[in-house]
């Protein structure tokens, strides 16, 4: 089975995004499953960044760090990324003499053919296609489509550059293994942050506010770009405004979401508590990145789990979901809106930079979901409306202001059933505390169990959450292939934790993108389980199957 990892490395501003996109599209045209992820520095020009493309015949939606084919656009990149190259790998570079290197002078070809070294990236893209033995017509079609909006001359120059790069690669050692043939398959090619706005719109979202922050900016941008989704988009002056606007909109009947990263979320915490107290549905996306503080703004991490769970002063129910991939992100986003509306609570979606920026291939992407319910009551059926009416399940019928003659009063103070400030400590306060506790219990019963992967016969079980699922699954299957009785349990609905029973006769190893083992702490508190090992990563890069295997080998 073909499983090829291509790494395109260079500086910001050298056009690796274009090379990567063009190549990816071309390979998708051939009918392969493609998985891509990118890593880059917090700067606009210069530095070191890379675009990773994993090509396979079956869907392999998980990152690899090693390279079968490595394109380096400059010497700094070569130095930094050379270590990734596999024994049998091939490097494409400006210069190079050894048997594993294909040398193509991108810049001089670009200057020669297009009068500008700005086209060097297209020369490199052409060369890559040649090495992969993709027919030029495929690349041509992709390029033409991509640059059409910029006018004919741009298309022409890009084609000239690409063709020159294509031609510059003569026969080269080793590259035969890299040849891609046409297959009769087609894949949906999607990232989680591209899918979430669609899922939100599908679930009835009409309002998003955000203050730009990596890696969550793409969410609001996608809404803004796609006006057909009919979602009101506002860039707030700060994150506090964002959450309070969204809570206001939700109170007034609009399904609302906000998106930020950990630092921005830190500013929203008072608002989370407000949503809890006023019982206003709200979906909050946190795209995690390494902290503390500004940390590594463009890198990935899973460091905000306990923070998200316990965010907000006082006690109130909230849900925390951490999708594992774009398909799951679709389902979880819809579910987040449903849970938020049903229980009238804030629901947090935890993603991360890795998940935000990675594109996955699916042969069938499931976009029909559970039936949608508005969870807004019928004003006709109510005579004496009280926003916080005490009910058996803790959930009060919800109306929005202006919907009918019924008045809707929401209050951040402790309140009576009618939504007015109370100081009745003997009756009303305990009743409202109980109301919120009851909702928490109801919610807890609605939470899905973790996914079990080869659990039945597993002796050693990896336990992870969120975006590490692909890597964990891959590690499990590779270790099983070597004869280890490996399995996994993977959480995507993390708070409140469901009633779940861990078998006592297995060894558990936690896998997390942080340094302190946040999920394992939580599971110890909730289920009393003990971990015999941990795989942790906190350098800002995603966990891969290889990383997991290596850590286990090193420690077990």
């Amino acid at each position: 089975m073909l499983d090829l990892n291509i790494v395109i490395a260079g500086a910001a501003g050298e056009g690796i995004q274009t090379i990567g996109d063009v190549l990816t599209r071309s390979i998708l045209e051939l009918g392969y499953s493609v998985f891509t992820w990118t890593e880059y520095e917090s700067r606009i020009r210069g530095g070191k960044s890379s675009y990773r493309i994993r090509v396979s015949e079956k869907m392999s939606n998980a990152p690899r760090h090693d390279a079968d084919l490595l394109l380096v656009l400059n010497e700094q990149a070569r130095e930094h990324y050379a270590g990734l190259l596999n024994k049998t790998g091939v490097t494409l570079a400006e210069t190079g003499e050894d048997l594993q290197t294909v040398a193509v002078p991108f810049r001089s070809i670009a200057v020669e053919q297009c009068k500008s070294k700005l086209y060097a990236n297209l020369v490199a893209a052409g060369a890559l296609c040649m090495i992969l033995q993709i027919e030029f017509s495929v690349l041509k079609q992709v390029l033409t489509r991509r640059f059409a909006a910029k006018g004919e001359e741009v298309v022409r120059l890009n084609l000239v550059a690409a063709r020159a790069g294509y031609a510059a690669v003569q026969s080269v050692p080793h590259t035969q293994q890299l040849a891609l043939e046409t297959r009769d398959r087609a894949y949906s090619f999607l990232s989680a942050h591209a899918v979430i706005p669609l899922a939100a719109a599908y679930a009835g979202c009409r309002f998003i506010t955000a203050y730009p922050m990596s890696p969550a900016t793409g969410i609001i941008t996608a809404f803004a770009r796609d006006e057909e989704l009919g979602v009101f988009v506002e860039q707030a002056e700060d994150e506090i405004a964002a959450i309070n606007m969204a809570i206001g909109a939700s109170y007034a009947g609009a399904r609302a979401m906000i998106a930020t990263s950990g630092g921005g979320f830190a500013l929203m915490v008072e608002g989370v508590s407000l949503a809890g107290m006023t019982e206003t549905p709200l979906v909050i996306l946190i795209g995690q990145r390494p902290g503390p503080a500004t940390g590594l703004p463009t890198r990935t991490a899973q460091e905000d789990l306990l923070f998200a769970i316990h965010a907000g002063h006082g006690e109130f129910p909230k849900a925390v979901l951490a999708p594992s991939d774009p398909q799951d992100a679709f389902a979880k986003t819809v579910r987040a809106f449903q849970l938020a509306a049903k229980y009238q609570i804030p629901v947090i979606l935890l993603t991360d930079q890795y998940l935000a920026d990675s594109y996955f291939s699916y042969d069938k992407f499931e976009s029909e979901n559970q039936p949608l319910t508005a969870h807004i009551a019928d004003p006709q059926a109510i005579s004496d409306y009280k926003r916080y009416r005490l009910t058996a399940d803790g959930v009060s019928p919800r109306l929005y202001p202006g919907q009918s003659k019924h008045l809707v009063c929401a209050d951040s103070d402790e309140h009576d059933e009618g939504g007015h400030i109370t100081e009745d400590l003997a009756h009303m306060r305990p009743a409202m505390v109980q109301k919120r506790l009851t909702k928490r219990k109801q919610l807890q019963q609605a939470i899905a169990l973790p996914a079990e992967i080869h659990l039945l016969d597993a002796e050693t079980v990896l336990i992870g959450w969120g975006s590490t699922r692909g890597a964990i699954e891959e590690a499990v299957s590779q270790l099983r292939a070597k004869g280890t009785a490996m399995g996994a349990i993977h959480f995507t609905e993390i708070w409140p934790l469901p009633d779940y029973v861990f078998a006592g006769d297995k060894q558990y190893i936690s896998v997390e993108g942080n340094a302190t083992g946040q999920l394992s702490y939580l599971l110890a508190a909730e289920y009393g389980i003990h971990f015999s090992g941990t795989v942790r990563r906190s350098d800002g890069l995603p966990i891969t199957a290889d990383y997991i295997k290596k850590e286990i080998d090193d420690r077990v």
Binding site: R25, L28, E29, A186, Y187, S188, L190, V195, L198, A199, A201, Y202, G204, R206, F207, E228, L229, G230, F232, E234, E237, D238, I240, A241, N244, M245, G248, A249, S250, Y251, A252, G253, A254, A256, E270, G271, L274, T278, Y362, D363, K364, F365, S367, E368, Y400, P401, G402, Q403, K405, H406, L407, V408, C409, A410, D411, S412, D413, G419, H420, I421
Partner: protein, 289 residues
């Protein structure tokens, strides 16, 4: 026909007997009645503070949110249900202190809401600390040697931003105040009414101090002249002009484009986006697309 009593709230009022806030409350009820608004068509939005309790004392929809955050909440409400008359009732601590940034950016946005600032020049609910409008030098229960920072100048700031409607009222002049509220609510765009509301417990000056100084703007005052309005708002003298200080030139409303596209409807009433629209974006990459 809407009557004054339609706005009567059953909720026990927690303000001090004699607090000028009562004047604001009555003026607001009267304004809503005279505008013919029904309680369910009105949404009062507030933060935390004495001023921010007002919505509870008036029978209508209300969102009593966080200290300092009334304006963003109101903006969200206004977009989600443009059929509502959305009014913020806020203290000057709430609006200019904790919420100063939202106030500033509301000026940039021009949402079609009314903001009523109860300016008692003190943090009353927390028992008497200096607020952004406490005059310099006044001693408070935290600034024992006197407030050192300069007084906030928010009316002037609003004028600089060509705010649609900028007025100053006096809680002790209820009829005039009620008229101001009528004009402010009826006005298109962001309407700001700062109301002098001396706190009789923690205020550093008596109600009579203000009563002696407030005076109506002259009849020939040109509320469309920004330079003059600025001068009036910035004037430091023994007279405190009340009335409509400024009306900004017409400009687009916040969210106007979107609201028009959605037919000025409550967003909750819009149909779901068609599954086809979503599915198309999720479909497999197809050679022939």
């Amino acid at each position: 026909m809407i009557e004054f009593n339609d706005y009567k709230s059953e909720i026990e009022n927690q303000w001090c007997p004699g607090c000028p806030n009562f004047g604001i409350l009555t003026a607001l009820k009267r304004a809503l009645v005279s505008l013919g608004k029904e309680p369910h068509q009105v949404c009062l939005v507030s933060g935390i503070g004495q001023a921010a309790k007002l919505p509870h004392y008036l029978r209508c929809n209300l969102f009593n949110g966080l200290h300092g955050r009334a304006i963003p909440a109101a903006i969200g409400i206004h977009v989600a249900n443009p059929t509502l008359t959305t009014i913020v009732t806020t203290g000057e601590g709430d609006c200019y202190g904790e919420g100063g940034n939202h106030f500033l950016h509301a000026l940039r946005r021009n949402p079609d809401i009314t903001v009523i600032v109860h300016n008692n020049e003190i943090y009353a609910l927390t028992k008497g600390q200096g607020s952004p409008t406490t005059p310099r030098g006044e001693k408070t229960r935290l600034q024992f040697t006197g407030v050192e920072a300069a007084q906030a100048q928010m009316l002037s700031t609003a004028i600089i931003y060509e705010c649609a409607f900028v007025a100053r009222g006096f809680a002790g002049n209820m009829n005039h105040l009620s008229e101001l509220f009528v004009s402010a609510i009826a006005h298109r765009g962001l309407s700001l009414v700062e109301v002098i509301q001396p706190c009789i417990i923690y205020g550093t000056r008596l109600v009579s101090w203000y009563r002696e100084r407030v005076e109506l703007l002259p009849a020939d005052y040109d509320r469309r002249d920004r330079t003059a309005a600025l001068e009036t708002a910035l004037a430091q003298g023994n007279r405190i002009p009340i009335g409509v200080l400024y009306e900004g030139p017409p400009r687009p409303l916040f969210a106007e484009r979107y609201r028009k596209r959605m037919g000025e409807q409550p967003l909750a009433e819009l149909p779901l986006i068609r599954q086809k629209t979503i599915a198309a974006r999720l479909a497999p990459w197809n050679r022939n697309q």
